[in-house]
């Protein structure tokens, strides 16, 4: 167990180093940092002085090392556009994205698994047909169109829910939350639905396929022969065995929630990291781009690691195999 975790941890560190290298290359070689910081009317001698002081003339590995040590201390340089530390910009906007992502992921997981079970058990029913058709349409529609459609129905026509922003937020230490006010919660509904739809259909289809596969297997037939009630068979025997791949996919999908959050945040003008990243790409604000890349890389690597360990805990077969070695 320990060896397995250590080995995975080592791989994660390597991946993080590669991500850091890419971030560093972007940071260092996309545009000239001096020109971006100093502007065009600084004298050449002064520019050279700045170059010296910032260590831009040092050999490559020294610069990379400095970038790494700075990054570990949370120092990613100053945003060209806003003249503030890139790390602080990201941290300021992180709570908004995390709240959105967590709510959508929960929504997707709960509804996706429930609908998956339903469509597997009642495969012939009319409602299952409706759900399956809707999911097919949901997969081929771009996220931003779904968001705009929801805005049109619920904000423009019905005027039930706000169409943009986070509503009133409350400051809790450094964390700015929208969970505590009514307008904050109302503002969360549409973006959360938009962001969760794609993952929801994915999880639903996966649960359905796995469940139908399991329901055909011998041990389920045997359980039926033993006269166990349907509820026990479906939920204790069948569902448990469908959950392993569901955990993996859901975990990996958490990462794409962050990527799709870029789109959703732009549609609803949600003040999170995703919309910050978009404006940074438009303005070629390299330090913020590099910081965002590092952050997303860290999230992905952590999720992968956690999923692998969970997998190991959930599936006993892997543990036995591990001991055999």
């Amino acid at each position: 167990m320990l060896i397995f975790i250590l080995r995975r941890l080592f791989q994660s560190v390597i991946v993080m180093l590669v991500v850091a290298l890419i971030a560093f290359l972007i940071f260092r070689y996309v545009g000239d940092p001096i020109v971006s910081m100093a502007g065009v009317d600084t004298r050449l001698e002064d520019q050279e002085l700045m170059r010296q002081r910032l260590g831009l003339n040092d050999p490559f590995y020294v610069q990379f090392w400095n970038f790494l040590t700075n990054a570990l201390q949370g120092n990613f340089g100053i945003s060209y556009r806003l003249q503030q530390p890139a790390m602080r910009l990201i941290l300021d906007r992180l709570p908004a994205t995390i709240e959105l992502a967590v709510v959508s992921a929960t929504l997707a997981l709960v509804l996706g698994v429930l609908m998956g079970i339903f469509t597997a058990l009642r495969a012939r029913s009319f409602l299952s047909g409706v759900i399956m058709t809707l999911s097919l349409v949901g997969v081929s529609l771009p996220t931003f169109l779904i968001g705009i459609g929801l805005i049109y129905i619920f904000a423009v026509e019905l005027q039930w829910l706000p169409s943009n922003g986070r509503g009133v937020t409350v400051q809790l230490g450094w964390w700015r939350t929208g969970f505590l006010t009514e307008s904050g919660l109302r503002s969360l509904i549409l973006p959360a639905i938009t962001l969760s739809l794609f993952q929801m259909t994915l999880i639903m289809r996966l649960v359905r396929a796995e469940m139908m596969e399991v329901l055909r297997s011998d041990y389920i037939r045997f359980a039926r022969a033993r006269g166990l009630p349907d509820r026990v068979i479906n939920f204790r025997h069948a569902l448990k065995n469908t959950l392993v791949p569901v955990i993996t996919i859901t975990g990996l999908q958490l990462g794409s929630v962050i990527a799709f959050a870029i789109v959703t945040e732009t549609v609803f003008q949600w003040p999170g990291v995703g919309s910050l990243f978009i404006t940074s790409v438009q303005a070629v604000d390299v330090p913020v781009m590099a910081t965002y890349l590092m952050m997303v890389g860290l999230v992905f690597v952590t999720i992968n690691l956690v999923v692998d360990i969970l997998y190991y805990l959930v599936d006993p077969r892997l543990r036995v195999q591990g001991k055999g070695r």
């Binding site: 931003f144 169109l145 978009i278």
Partner: protein, 322 residues
């Protein structure tokens, strides 16, 4: 992906004299499966209509929306079908600057489809080349290419495309960004989609490599490049075609998303995504047609190409054939 797909034309037993192309086409399994699926026929017709409308836009569009000389600013915000101030009536209405929506959409689909096709072609070429190399050579090249593909596939395509786009914009001087934007976009979307091609081609190539005809070609002393391109490549194209269709739908959506986010094509060459971005501004003021028609066009395009991909996957899969 285990079995190489047999080209359907050769699957039907050749009867007597050589027959023409159309005759062979109508006799093939593909045609049979196509003509038996109403959904597929509709999807084909919709896709063809959209593609033709886009390709022929300069000749058949009722107006030239990007030529200021022909645009009546007075006609702005004319609802669909209504009579505008200048006396002209526009089938799908006009936008805020009095441009005819139908023509704008036709020109917009032109940009969307061009980027979509070019990006898919680029991803396909790159993916096939790397997949063939990995599958045929094996060893270190295989490990390296597949590792990169694994890592890339674990990151969402849109994120990779955004990053590549951002980096490229940083490297290109601002004065040239407008002309190069479309090509940068093609590069970014293509580079974010090559991995699926590489994976499939590698798998099929590894199976093909074991076969007698490859050994025979090797014994004859053909050089590896010729074996791979002339002998192996034609046999891996079946699955590639399926992925290319699905990848085209993905590329169109990806381009629309990037343009919607405002990092895609320049405003002087609006694609469907840009039109939707512009249309969203008028959602609250009741001019629904500026948003709705580009959105419907994009949905129809993505949906029809997706349905074609689904059908192609089933039609080319010998295991599903009865």
């Amino acid at each position: 992906m285990t079995d190489p797909t047999i080209p359907p034309e050769t699957a039907t037993p050749e009867t007597s004299a050589p027959r023409g192309f159309w005759q062979r086409l109508f006799d093939s399994d593909i045609w049979f499966s196509w003509s038996r699926s109403p959904v597929t026929i509709i999807a084909t017709l919709v896709a063809l209509a959209l593609i033709l409308g886009a390709a022929l836009a300069p000749w058949i569009a009722p107006h030239t929306p990007f030529n200021p000389a022909t645009v009546e600013l007075m006609d702005g915000f004319t609802p669909p079908g209504a009579q505008a101030l200048s006396g002209t009536s526009y089938l799908l209405g006009t936008d805020d600057q009095g441009r005819d929506m139908l023509s704008t959409i036709m020109y917009g689909s032109r940009v969307s489809l061009f980027v979509g096709f070019a990006a898919t072609l680029f991803a396909m070429t790159l993916g096939i080349a790397l997949g063939l190399t990995a599958g045929y050579r094996g060893g270190f090249a295989d490990t390296l290419i597949m590792r990169i593909a694994d890592v890339q596939l674990s990151f969402p395509a849109i994120l990779i495309a955004l990053l590549i786009f951002g980096v490229a914009q940083g490297l290109i001087p601002a004065s040239q960004q407008e002309q190069t934007a479309v090509w940068v976009l093609i590069l970014a979307i293509g580079l974010s989609n090559w991995a699926q091609f590489a994976r499939t081609v590698r798998g099929t190539t590894m199976v093909e490599r074991q076969k007698d005809y490859v050994s025979a070609a090797r014994l004859l002393g053909r050089n590896p490049l010729a074996i791979v391109t002339r002998h192996v490549l034609p046999n891996v194209l079946g699955p590639v075609l399926v992925i290319a269709t699905i990848s085209l739908a993905l590329a169109i959506i990806e381009e629309a998303t990037l343009s919607y986010l405002g990092v895609g094509v320049p405003p002087t060459q609006p694609s469907l995504g840009t039109l939707i971005r512009i249309g969203q501004r008028f959602l609250f003021s009741g001019e629904w047609w500026i948003l709705a028609f580009p959105a419907v066009t994009l949905i129809l395009l993505a949906l029809s190409v997706n349905l074609l991909g689904d059908w192609l996957r089933d039609a080319l899969n010998p295991r599903l054939r009865k």
